[in-house]
Amino acid sequence: MPVIYYVILSSLLFCIGLYGVLTRKNAVAILLCIEIMLNAANLNIIAFSRCWPEPARGTIFVLFVIGLAAAEAAVGLAIIISYYRKSEAIDLDNINLLKW
């Protein structure tokens, strides 16, 4: 199958994830969409690694990305939980402490 199909798929996924990050109100939902974006990037890398003679170049990188995504999700959730402990809502419309 041509590479372009995979690239289109991964970019579609990325845009869906991006739309979700920009639009959703719930913080956990944003984390989920970030995961979608990361997975889209993974897909892109694997699609391109298929074109190389050596087999495992892209896959190793994807493994790193997955690990990194997991760590970052943990950190994000930790921040959300600590914020939830402070104020009972995690609605992003009300988090504007850096406003002028």
Binding site: L18, L22, I95, N96, L97, L98, K99
Partner: protein, 699 residues
């Protein structure tokens, strides 16, 4: 150069010693050293060293049989191929002049140590005198016109400083100015002569030079044969103009009598022995030029003769003892020029040397008289001093006799030689100069002999002879430091004649001018190397005139003056007495006022000068200053405009404007910070898209 004894190579040390004394006495540290007596002994020591050096130098010059002039120089200014050199030249004339100047100068310095000891500017006096001595000695050893001119001007400067030494007196300050300006008028001639010399040496000699002679035959005197006569005449006349200024010839003589405002040592050194001799020395040094162009020599002779008699007549009516001697100096300088002009090179220069000695003697003893009379200078208030001031009286008498030309004194031999040369000139000139006019120098010279004897006897009689002092001052004899130079000079005045005795004229063989130095032979001047015989007739006439002068002087001014005058008056018939009285009073009035020369100069020269000065002042004040003020106003207006620009425009835009922009933009840009993360992410994504589009377009 190697065959010259070392004493020639270091001749430049002779002017150097007084120059060092000048520099040393500038410093208070030197002045305050006890044993230098406020710097006086430094100056005296320096002059003493110069005297000793000159003595040995003269001895060596005399004893060198094959003497050629020594010329040592170094390059000073170069322009392309030609260069101006400075250096020293030693020939017989230089040696004799050095000896005279340093010897007389040394004695005068010794004298001044006591004469000036109460003066509050004592050290400065010796400072100035040392500078003068240095420049005079430098003038003598100079081997080119430029160095001579530099020293000439320096000597004039020192004369100004020393005449105006007591500058608190207005008369002294005025006299200093007068001396400087009058000699400067003569120096104009000298400057023109120098320029002509430079031009002539470049045009006719292919080598631009100021030198007198150089070993490689490039000096000015070497190329004289190839220079046309009219050029030489002009050069010689302008040189003589310079000499007229410095040596107080008629009509530039007016500064010398006024120069007596300075201290007596100054009068003795500068205005009797040395500086006024510089003009005569110049003529003597440039004698080849004068002799090659004959007309200037005739001019020199006539002007010298006129000066000699003119000044002698004024001296007859002078009442200040120093004025008498000043006019006497002018008269004797006239004699020297007369001697040089009639072809008596040796005669004129011999008179220069002897005159220096006895005139310095006369001035110093008159200073002793003034000192002893506590400042009184009018001879009518003196009298009978022979009882109180014996040494001064005897030395003044010896000086007087030498000046008059009393037989067997030095002045006798020198003056007689001049008169003999004048007679020879008259003889030779009957073919070239009509109507026996060539004898005028001789006649004027003989008149001068009579007048000199008359006025000096008058002066001596009124000052020293008689029974009592005509004023209330109690005179006292001077101290040893002042009397010793007098005695030494008196001895020299008597003995110096021995070197110039006509038959055994050692001086003539030493300093003479021969025909082979001149390219042209003329009828008027026959310069021969063998000495002329003694002219007994002229000698007899001059001795008779001298005695006549002495006798008439003593007869009229001897003691019991008033009785004398009444006796003489009563013995003349009435009508003669009446007209004689009027005529005599008229003549006396004119002569006593110095023939109104000062007044003539004031109304015809100084007035013009003042008018020009006032005119220039008015231009300066009303025209040029107005331009300066206008310019200042313009500058002020320009600065006001600039300030307005600066305030209203530049400050508004560049300074306040930027701050306004910063504040306003900041106020509105804060609204960008909303605090919503999603909006931030949105902007990031838009930015990425924008950059990507830009990148694609740029490709």
């Amino acid at each position: 150069m190697g065959e010259y004894h070392w004493i020639y190579h270091y001749v430049w040390m002779v002017p150097l010693f007084p120059l060092l004394a000048f520099i040393l006495t500038l410093f208070p540290q030197v002045r305050n050293i006890k044993w230098t007596y406020k710097g006086a002994y430094v100056a005296i020591g320096a002059m003493g060293l110069s005297t000793i050096y000159s003595l040995f130098l003269t001895g060596r010059v005399i004893s060198d049989h094959e003497f050629k002039p020594y010329n040592g120089y170094l390059r000073w200014l170069t322009a392309g191929n030609s260069s101006i050199e400075i250096g020293v030249m030693v020939d017989q004339l230089t040696a004799v002049m050095l000896l005279m100047v340093s010897f007389v100068g040394c004695l005068i310095f010794i004298y001044s140590r006591d004469y000036m000891r109460h003066d509050k500017r004592f050290s400065r006096f010796f400072n100035y005198m040392s500078l003068f001595a240095a420049s005079m000695l430098g003038l003598i050893v100079a081997n080119n016109f430029l160095l001579l001119f530099i020293c000439w001007e320096l000597v004039g400067l020192c004369s100004y400083l020393l005449i105006g030494f007591w500058f608190e007196k207005t008369s002294a300050a005025d006299a200093a100015k007068k001396a400087f300006i009058t000699t400067k008028t003569g120096d104009l001639g000298l400057t023109i002569a120098l320029m002509m010399i430079l031009w002539a040496s470049a045009t006719y000699g292919n080598n631009m030079t100021f030198n007198f002679v150089t070993p490689d035959e490039k000096g000015f005197f070497n190329i004289l044969p190839s220079v046309p006569t009219w050029v030489l005449t002009m050069i010689a006349l302008f040189l003589f103009l310079g000499a007229m200024g410095k040596s107080a010839q008629f009509p530039l003589h007016v500064w010398l009598p006024d120069a007596m405002e300075g201290p007596t040592s100054v009068s003795a050194l500068i205005h009797a022995a040395t500086m006024v001799a510089a003009g005569v020395y110049l003529v003597g040094r440039c004698y080849p030029i004068f002799a090659a162009a004959v007309i200037p020599l005739v001019v020199v002779a006539f002007i010298g003769a006129i000066t000699a008699v003119f000044a002698a007549t004024i001296a007859v009516t002078a009442n200040d003892i120093k004025r008498v001697l000043a006019y006497s100096t002018v008269s004797q300088l006239g004699y020297m020029m007369l001697g040089l002009g009639v072809g008596g090179y040796t005669a004129g220069l011999f008179h220069l040397i002897t005159h220096a000695v006895f005139k310095a003697l006369l001035f110093l003893s008159s200073g002793s008289v003034i000192h002893g009379m506590s400042g009184e200078q009018n001879i009518w208030k003196m009298g009978g001093l022979h009882k109180h001031m014996k040494y001064t009286c005897w030395t003044f008498a010896i000086g007087t006799l030498a000046l008059i030309g009393f037989p067997l004194t030095s002045g006798f031999f020198s003056k007689d030689e001049i008169l003999a040369s004048a007679f020879t000139f008259g003889e030779h000139s009957t073919h070239t100069i009509p109507f026996y006019l060539g004898y005028i120098p001789l006649l004027l010279g003989l008149t001068g002999v009579f007048l000199t004897a008359f006025y000096m006897t008058r002066c001596f009689t009124l000052t020293f002879l008689g029974n009592k002092v005509r004023s209330n001052v109690q005179p006292q004899e001077s101290t040893l430091w002042m009397i010793l130079p007098l005695i030494i000079l008196a001895g020299c005045a008597l003995l110096l004649g021995l070197v110039g005795i006509p038959k055994f004229n050692f001086f003539h063989s030493f300093i003479h001018f021969t025909r082979d130095s001149v390219g042209v032979e003329t009828a008027l001047y026959k310069f021969s190397s063998e000495q002329e015989g003694v002219n007994w007739i002229i000698m007899l006439i001059s001795v008779i005139l001298g005695f006549a002068g002495i006798i008439s002087g003593y007869a009229i001014y001897g003691y019991k003056i008033q009785e004398r005058f009444t006796e003489i008056k009563n013995s003349i018939p009435t009508w003669l007495r009446y007209y004689g009285n009027m005529g005599f009073k008229g003549l006396h009035f004119i002569v006593k006022n110095k023939y109104f020369f000062d007044e003539i100069y004031r109304y015809f020269v100084i007035c013009v000068n003042l008018m020009i000065a006032k005119f220039c002042f008015i231009i300066d004040q009303f025209i040029i200053d107005k331009f300066v003020d206008l310019w200042a106003c313009i500058m002020i207006w320009i600065s006001r405009i600039k300030r307005w620009i600066d305030d209203k425009i530049i400050d508004a835009i560049a300074v306040n404007g930027w701050s306004y922009i910063s504040i306003v933009s900041g106020r509105y840009l804060t609204y960008l910070q909303t605090g919503y993360v999603q909006q931030y992410i949105m902007i990031i994504c838009l930015g990425i898209i924008f950059l990507t589009i830009l990148g694609v377009i740029a490709k």
